[in-house]
Amino acid sequence: MNQILKNLSVLALCTGLPMGAWADASDDTLHVAVARETDFIDPIHTSSADGDLFATILYDTLIYVDRATREFKPALAESWSWLDDTTVEFRLREGITFHNGEAFNADDVVYTFGLLMDMNNGFRQQQQDFGNIAEVTKVDDWTVRVRLSQPQPTFENLLASRIAIWPDDYTSANGHMIHATAPVGTGPYRLDSLQAGSVYTLSANADYAAHARPAPTIGHIEVRVIPEIQTQIAEVMAGQLDLALSFSPGDAQMLEGMPGVSVQYGPATRMYFLSMDAAGEGENPLADRRVRQAITWAINRPEMTAALISPSAPALTSQCNPAQNFCLTDIEPANGYDLEAARAALAEAGHAEGLDLRLMAEASLRPVAEAIQGYLSQIGIRLAIDTMPLPAWRTAYINGESQMSIVGWGSGVTSADVSNTLGIFFNGSSTDYVQDPDLIAWTAEARQSMDPARRTELYRQVYTRINEEAYVVPLYGVVATYVTSEDVDFPVPVMDFPDLSLVRWAE
């Protein structure tokens, strides 16, 4: 009922109401809206994707990931090189100052890495993301060497996202928590004021040393947290926003074609898949490959993705999102929609009369769960759906209580690599519902191989095995939606982590 009322109100907002002029560039302030508050605005304290919006423009990292090409480019480090599989040396850029005037040099890098390695600091996912850093050495004022415990081909992803460089004097004098409220970096914008969870105002750093990205051209940015999308739609229609970042494709569709409004879609690295308890013991129909194949063949993924997610969203054919590095989309068998084959496989497995199964999902995924229920009913599978809040679902999943689950995975720049997505689902842990020794070995080797060709080869083996055995059903990738005013020139990034310093006023 509430959803119906909400939809009616959105309809009322979108029909027959006069449109106003957009917030123009006269005050040189980019008005941005997001739906969720971030816990921290620096990337070291949090791994949250919500914090990335601020972290990207307040801080510089040693290397920068280009939003147009996903290439790594020199940033605070003007160059870097791998001395061996575990040692990387950075040549730092000279003449850069932090927002507070402190000069940048090797001491800041060594100090920041020292904090990352001290597990008492309690940074989010600290062990997971920084636990492999073994040693940091200052070679000279402009050269730093970092040694890892194990080879880590995805280390550059971390360097370009979570490892912002903090000023050593300022941070040691005030404690690292100072960056939660009074961040000081070398980024293209500095924080003017912060009303936690509500409004953040930033202004351009006039002394910004442009390197991997150009100096900012917009003077000020105001980011407001507006939790209700309907309210954001009203703000868009009233011309009070230049950029809205939290719309779903469904919400944004209603704004398409509206004068003064531009709706753009871009790739996102998050993906969803159907997990099945292939390794479960006892009377477990999902241990039978033919049952899993029947389920896989019975779900029309392109149709479901276009209808429920977005026509722009990718329907997945292998266990990765095409927006990720090392995602291979030419895997055979592709396991496409084939209802007759599904029925035959189920009958061959001894379930011609049908089968009762239970699907768990986080509450917001109910429409997807119901679509899957509908598809499976066509082959006689009676699917009971159990939706619950995310923490409850996660707890049950970690505890091995899932027979079937819809799993969403991947966020942050680190998820640009498939090792993140394959992560904990094929490594022999309690979240591995497959427990295939080959997959455990291949993914472990791929996580540490510094040879891109070898990694590709290993991942091809992984994806092929997953599809052959129908261990999971890769479902769909997410689409990032950007609603902008026509006053704004917004370059759609190749990943769902926009860099606001790249936004320009339209000419």
Binding site: P227, E228, A234, M388, P391, I398
Partner: protein, 305 residues
């Protein structure tokens, strides 16, 4: 009266303890907080370490005891997400919420008192029915829907008022209107029924027979008596407005304790949600206690019951 006060206070404390215990248990049972906090990509070891460091691996009753002991000392803990003390999060936001609730109650009373009186003076006429219909509509309309409709008309179409935020007094007009319209129906109906009761009393007939002006009878004799239950209800309504601002603050993006609660529920920020639960309970219990005492003071039979 003192015995009555003692019993009521004891009952209030028991209610608060019960609410806090049930709330605590429900929040703890809603899922593994450590798994939520550790982040999606966290390893099982990291989740276990976090669970231990937060004391979430202790028994429920031990956790509740520790929380209660801290709460009685005024320490409500810190947000799991931002690490800020809960008391500071509340103090930073309570002003906005209290201002909105107070203004909404004033507006609601300003509307419902005259409407109730007019309806009582013209019982069973079209005016009475129109006011009843208005009151019913107000009660039936969900706050978020009304909020969006007001935004659509006054914010988008007419551009008279800002749509969201809380930086100027104008930002409060629409949210206060939504909150007030939610409180008007009950207050109007109570005022109407109170007035109808009072108007049938002998002393009103006597006043009329003495030839006193109708306005004087209404203001001096009828309204004063009919207002007493409305005052009691207003106290309870204020509690509802303070606790019920979650939806309005969310729709209008107003940084009060309602929006804080909404976000904290979304991300399982247990200390904040628990504190909000206790805050709303204290408001209700205190205001209900006040209303009970007021009624007992006015009606000695209640003290003896």
């Amino acid at each position: 009266m003192l015995i009555y006060l003692r019993d009521k206070l004891a009952l209030s404390v028991l209610v608060l303890l019960t609410v806090s215990l049930i709330g605590f248990a429900l929040l703890r049972l809603s899922g593994d907080l450590a798994a939520s906090l550790a982040g999606e990509n966290a390893s099982l070891e990291e989740i276990a370490a976090l669970r231990h460091s937060l004391g979430l691996d202790r028994s429920l009753i031990v956790q509740y005891g520790a929380w209660l002991a801290d709460a009685l000392r005024g320490d409500l803990g810190a947000s799991f997400f931002t690490h800020e003390p809960v008391s500071r999060l509340f103090l930073d936001r309570i002003g906005v919420t209290a201002t909105m609730a107070g203004l909404a109650l004033v507006v609601a009373l300003a509307l419902s008192l005259p409407l109730g009186v007019i309806a009582a003076l013209r019982p069973n006429t079209w005016i009475d029915r129109a006011i009843s219909a208005l009151a019913l509509s107000g009660q039936a309309m969900p706050g978020f829907w009304l909020g969006l409709m007001l935004i659509s008309f006054f914010g988008v179409t007419l551009r008279w008022l800002p749509i969201s935020g809380s930086s100027t007094p104008a930002h409060f007009v629409l949210p206060v209107a939504v909150l007030a319209l939610g409180a008007v129906p009950a207050l109007t109906r109570l005022m109407r029924s109170g007035m109808l009761d009072v108007l049938e009393q002998d002393y009103i007939r006597t006043a009329r027979s003495k030839g006193l002006p109708v306005t004087l009878i209404m203001l001096r004799h009828a309204m004063r008596n009919a207002l007493l239950p409305v005052v009691s209800l207003s106290a309870v309504q204020l509690g509802a407005l303070l606790g019920g601002s979650v939806i309005v603050e969310t729709v209008f993006a107003i940084e009060g304790i309602g929006l804080l609660t909404y976000r904290s529920i979304q991300r399982n920020d247990f200390p904040v949600v628990q504190a909000m639960l206790v805050f709303v309970s204290v408001c209700y219990v205190a205001l209900t206690l006040l209303a009970d005492l007021l009624n007992a003071w006015l009606d000695p039979r209640l003290r003896e019951a």
